[in-house]
Subunit: 215 residues, 4 copies
Amino acid sequence: MSGRANSAESGGGAQANAPLTERGARTREKVLVAAREVFEERGFPDTRVAHIAHRAQVAYGSFYTYFPSKEAVFLEVADRLFAEMTDRGGVPASGASPAARIRRSNRSYYEGYLRNAKMMAIVEQVATFNEEFQELRRKHRATSITRTAGAIRRWQRDGLVPDDLDAEMTARALAAMIDHSLYLWIVQGDDTPDTQRLLDTLDALTHRALGLPDS
Amino acid sequence: MSGRANSAESGGGAQANAPLTERGARTREKVLVAAREVFEERGFPDTRVAHIAHRAQVAYGSFYTYFPSKEAVFLEVADRLFAEMTDRGGVPASGASPAARIRRSNRSYYEGYLRNAKMMAIVEQVATFNEEFQELRRKHRATSITRTAGAIRRWQRDGLVPDDLDAEMTARALAAMIDHSLYLWIVQGDDTPDTQRLLDTLDALTHRALGLPDS
Amino acid sequence: MSGRANSAESGGGAQANAPLTERGARTREKVLVAAREVFEERGFPDTRVAHIAHRAQVAYGSFYTYFPSKEAVFLEVADRLFAEMTDRGGVPASGASPAARIRRSNRSYYEGYLRNAKMMAIVEQVATFNEEFQELRRKHRATSITRTAGAIRRWQRDGLVPDDLDAEMTARALAAMIDHSLYLWIVQGDDTPDTQRLLDTLDALTHRALGLPDS
Amino acid sequence: MSGRANSAESGGGAQANAPLTERGARTREKVLVAAREVFEERGFPDTRVAHIAHRAQVAYGSFYTYFPSKEAVFLEVADRLFAEMTDRGGVPASGASPAARIRRSNRSYYEGYLRNAKMMAIVEQVATFNEEFQELRRKHRATSITRTAGAIRRWQRDGLVPDDLDAEMTARALAAMIDHSLYLWIVQGDDTPDTQRLLDTLDALTHRALGLPDS
DNA sequence: GATGAATGAGACTTCATTCAT
DNA sequence: CATGAATGAAGTCTCATTCAT
């Protein structure tokens, strides 16, 4: 999961035409980077293959040398994004107090979201009409939720979190809260006067909702 | 249903070539209803004006007698939807305990969401690329959040909710949690085995997050 | 030709549905006036029947009660225009010197053109694509040219104008000069700093071209 | 033909998606030629992009590979036409007598007009409703008038033409006479029995109007 | 007669993808 | 493999005219 080597194959069904030459690989990369830029600037539906080719400084037709369709590049761009968002810097983070872990985990997610805000917007967009892509997202979400639910269950075993909470549903709901709050604020531009206040509130609500003792 | 007379004018900027005759009003309504149906079935981008006209059993051009564009009908369809979703059945709901109020309010929202699930999906979709529509939604959200924040502040004055919570941020975050949870579950079809468990969890989390005493 | 009574029938093929009632006649007139206004403002192709009806404050369908088509109103509007342009105020103008007659006649035409400048523009426009209307104009031009050619021939008989000039061709060419000069200046807005200079030049050129002795 | 290399760029604002390859250039030319043909046959408003594409034997969409709109091709077609009409075969024509120069210049213009009669009709047509095109024509006219006015002033200095004539107004009026006479005769099909008589009359009137001594 | 709703053929333009060079 | 030209189905919107009330 952290080896990024051929995330394309494993991750999202975006297959690569096995870039042969070194030069080919570089061109492919140029197109991929250009694609992300253009998607961020114009959104998926308003992105033209011509834009991507132009941005990547390759001929129109060359795009199709490396990707079979507009959707295909998008899937691969998104796949990289998911990998980056999911990947916490290898820190095991065990041993810390729940409060600290929540805070650390949330902050790390906020930062990733901020770093990739524009692309997250497009991801949301494509998720509203592309079934294949919905499936891809579902998988990523499931992975993340399973992990969070695991943590909650551990805390329940340790008596830190009340037993009557459904660990998985809770993980789901809290993830939804954080995801959507960030989305509305960063992407949809809801006027939130103060970033810190939003993030602090999210931390506090997570903490309380889990019934954790005041830190 | 409560003074919806000209919600089009007042509500969202979706104003219409007011049909002058009874007959015109009937046709317009037919188109509006057909539009919603088709939007629900195919999503916004895949809906053709031709589909709407056909469904409404009017000529292609008749669509344009009443709406200047696909966007315009959508705005009006959405406006009606928002009105329905926002409209709680006139029940004042004062006097009840916070726990009861939360539960009642949430359930009422769930039901509305379920009733309008398909359309909510399209609303989310259009919100990802149409600026005008984003603005419309922002307004509706603001209204709803202001109301919730008011309730929270009242509970804070009554000593039921801790003072250190930022009422508005909290209202925002909890609304995001509920909205997005329902969206992911109902619209995106996240496999949630059990409805009741999801709704109960949302109630419980809301309750706990607000620091309300166990009921 | 000067009795305006039923110029519609005689003039341009624009037939009237014999307005019966007094009130009908008044409505018809309203439409006709409105049509001219709108044609002047938007030109023929960009004029919609809806505009005319709206301007005349009659229902859309009522337009067709009085005129069978957009072209038909235009023909009738143009017919009135031609009548007005051709109609010199009943002044016989015989006996005056050629120089004086030319000057008087030109000035009278200039004034008419100025009064009707906008409509003259539309006339020119429609003449470029409507065969029926071209025919109508040809007739009017022929009448006017015949008259001018007659005057030239009389002057030739009187020894005032050289015999070697072809009277009809000359009449044609001079009319073209005056018409088109006014058109380019008034309608097409060629920047002519000074009206008087243009008109004086036209008079002088006409005078000299005819070989009339310096006045 | 005299440095027409990129008349499109220099001439009238009709600039093109410069085709990069030889093949592209050929196709573009095919479309341009086809466009002129169709415009001549049907006039501007009745010309469909489909007609042009069909005539050029390219796909519908290929038209848009080279021209952004019907207007754009027209502008370029017209630009070529103006260049051809303005371009006198490089003959300096100095030294000749005014009478000879006038005659030569007029004849050359007549011939050009005849060669391009159909297109001149369409030019006139478009000039009645397209502002951008009106501007283009104004410029061309101004160039031509300035040149003629210069000749007249020279003749005035040489005592061949009376000083009291306004050189520029005269140039304008005479150009209008010739242009419109040809237009009415060739394009509008005014029944002129004899070409030579018309042209001779135009020469004679020009000559006399300028007060030149009988040749 | 007056009204205004209904009609639907038709025009323009876009753009993902294919193909010739 | 690179290039960029070629394709053409598809979709939106217009508007003169007809028709039902």
